[in-house]
Amino acid sequence: MSEAKLIRPSIDEIKSLLRVERLPHIWCPSCGIGIVAKAYVEALLRSGIPPEKHVLVSGIGCSSRMPGYIKIDGYHVIHGRAIPFAVGLKTVRPELEVTVFAGDGDLSTIGGNHLIHAIRRNDDINVIMINNFTYGMTGGQYGGTTPEGSRTLTSPYGHIEGTFNVPLLVASIGAPYVARWTVLHYRQIVDTIVEMFNIDGFAFLEVISPCIIYTDMNRRDAISLMRMFREQSDIDHKADLRNIGINRLNEETRFVVGKFVHRPSESYQTKYRRLVEKVMKGG
């Protein structure tokens, strides 16, 4: 018999980058945010960039509580405004690796305007959006990604609004890196985040996650949603983004995941620095 060494960061190494004095965290049992937080830390350890150079920025909501548990510089700002904060910070400190970590409501609903303009400018930030189809922290209201027909606190008779297909939205404005996974695709999430750190431009990842507040109201428990992720996901990097929207949650839903867009890019910050250099030389 012989002992073997683990070849990826162990949970103890990951915990060395967590604020363990604050554990257990506030997320509900079966919430997927803890899994993505772990994946982010693993990606950070694999990125080759020291933890002092990583910064997390978040808005308000359950997903936005994540920076409070990670032992790196973190800014928990106001609802929907994580992206402009991150943009301002990155512009003056280009050597830092700035990641926005927030939920679907914070980023695509109240923060929608900032999202589309940061993509249009191609700001050099990473944005990880946890999509649990609801505003969980406030009790389970509907948001921009809530599937049709859902029962939520503010759609007690069934949700009649349409939903955002966020990867399509993000890609259509021109983001150079767009990916989507479910929390079950842990290894892929880690690999994606490591890739995102190396993009000079707007890198976007949507992670579909179970929220027990949402699933309880739709007569399904969180673990059944996780089983749906296992049985009903398709990894298709070449998917036509127009067809990957999650409009209804039922036995026929296909979760199309993968790395949809990955192309060369130059960020606003890089172009601006070049402009400054030119002007200062007298151009």
Binding site: P67, G74, H76, L89, V92, R93, M280
Partner: protein, 382 residues
């Protein structure tokens, strides 16, 4: 204008441009803004000057992104500023509360116009006075400067940065359309005569560092990426910066943040007095209105009325002490401003109610010296 900041000397500058030059001299190297009259000259000048001094400029999609972007850049350790007018300033209120809560030094220039709502975009107003310290929710304090000339736009912008970085609070330069757009002589003093407060990393090692240490009146500021691994949140928090709902801890924390200004108000408040010793009536004003008041008071004196001038140079902390003293000596107060009585409402708290008078004036035009003189006569006779 060329590369680098203005050299010492005399210049003929528009108020808004003087503000830009003052900011650059103070070390501002990040500006974010959104177009709004009458502050557009500030962003236009910043767009041109920032690359010349090696700084950064972003025109964001709205004022909310601008102010939050400024807070983000300030947390990177860089002096940052935004400029706007009434409607944009209203949008910025939530973020001002955030800047106060996480004690981030920022400067906001509000070039007031006629209000409320869309109001009079190209014409003067002074209707944001109370909003500058009470526009956001909850208890907080800002410091607000009231320039009345392009020279003061220059000087007070520098002072605004100093106050912001010394006390870690949001500071507002509350100008108005006329001061912002008038062109006057601005003298830039020799650099060794200008005080500039800089950010210095604390010498506490990261393991022992607490971002909101109770032992300090103003805890040392650390920027992102400096190795301190801090967590700042807009939630009620404790010394470590972690969210807390403990009432005792948060009471202590909130009071500590407020006392930065309350305990230093004598050092921060500024005002200018003229001809007050023998006056029976004191005319309080600020900004562009103070120009009309100077002439009106001189005319009143010529007519034999004993009138004095009390010009506010900070709106908050409100310079109440001398005002209260003079009112208790039996002097009457007349507050003249381009609004329906905002500084008036504040001053009223500090003086006997029957000794203070207001001159409601709708925005769009500044009261002429004749109009003010007429009011002075009316009040004086009473």
């Amino acid at each position: 204008m060329n590369n680098g900041v203005l050299k010492p000397g005399d210049y003929f500058l528009r108020g808004n441009y003087a503000c830009v030059e003052g900011a650059l001299l103070a070390g501002c190297r990040f500006f974010a803004g959104y177009p709004i009259t009458p502050s557009n000259e500030i962003s236009a000048m910043m767009a041109r000057r920032m690359p010349q001094v090696g700084g950064s400029f972003i025109q964001f999609e709205d004022e909310i992104a601008s102010i939050v972007g400024v807070i983000g850049a300030a947390n990177g350790g860089v002096k940052s500023m935004t400029a706007t007018s009434g409607p944009g300033f209203s949008l910025m209120q939530e973020a001002i509360g955030l800047a106060f809560m996480i004690e981030t030094p920022i400067v906001i220039v509000d070039v007031q116009r006629g209000g409320p709502s869309t109001g009079l975009p190209t014409q003067v107003g002074q209707g944001d006075f109370i909003q500058t310290n009470f526009g956001s929710h909850g208890d907080y304090e800002t410091v607000v400067y009231l320039p009345n000339s392009p020279q003061e736009m220059f000087d007070m912008t520098i002072e605004a940065f100093n106050t912001a970085w010394r006390y870690r609070v949001p500071v507002i330069v509350l100008a108005d359309q006329m001061i912002g757009q008038m062109i006057e002589k601005v003298s830039v003093p020799p650099y060794d005569e200008i005080e500039i407060v800089e950010y210095e990393k604390p010498d506490v090692p990261p393991e022992e560092f607490l971002p909101f240490d109770f032992r300090y009146e103003v805890p040392p500021f650390v920027a992102a990426g400096d190795g301190y691994r801090i967590h700042l949140t807009g939630l009620a928090h404790d010394e470590r910066g972690y969210p807390t709902t403990n009432h005792e801890i948060y009471s202590k924390m909130l009071l500590r943040k407020l006392r930065k200004i309350w305990d230093n108000e004598d050092r921060i408040m500024e005002w200018e007095e003229q001809l007050t010793e023998d006056a029976n009536l004191i005319v309080v004003s600020y900004g562009i209105t103070s120009r009309s008041v100077y002439k009106a008071v001189r005319d009143a004196r010529e007519k034999g009325m004993k009138v004095g001038i009390y010009r506010l140079k900070t709106a908050w902390p409100f310079p109440y002490k001398r005002l209260r003293e003079m009112a208790n000596e039996g002097k009457d107060i007349l507050v003249v401003e381009v609004n329906m009585g905002q500084a008036y409402r504040v001053a009223k708290q500090y003086v006997p109610h029957d000794s203070i008078y207001c001159m409601p004036w709708a925005p769009g035009k500044v009261p002429t010296p004749e109009a003010i003189l007429k009011k002075i006569e009316e009040v004086y006779r009473a």
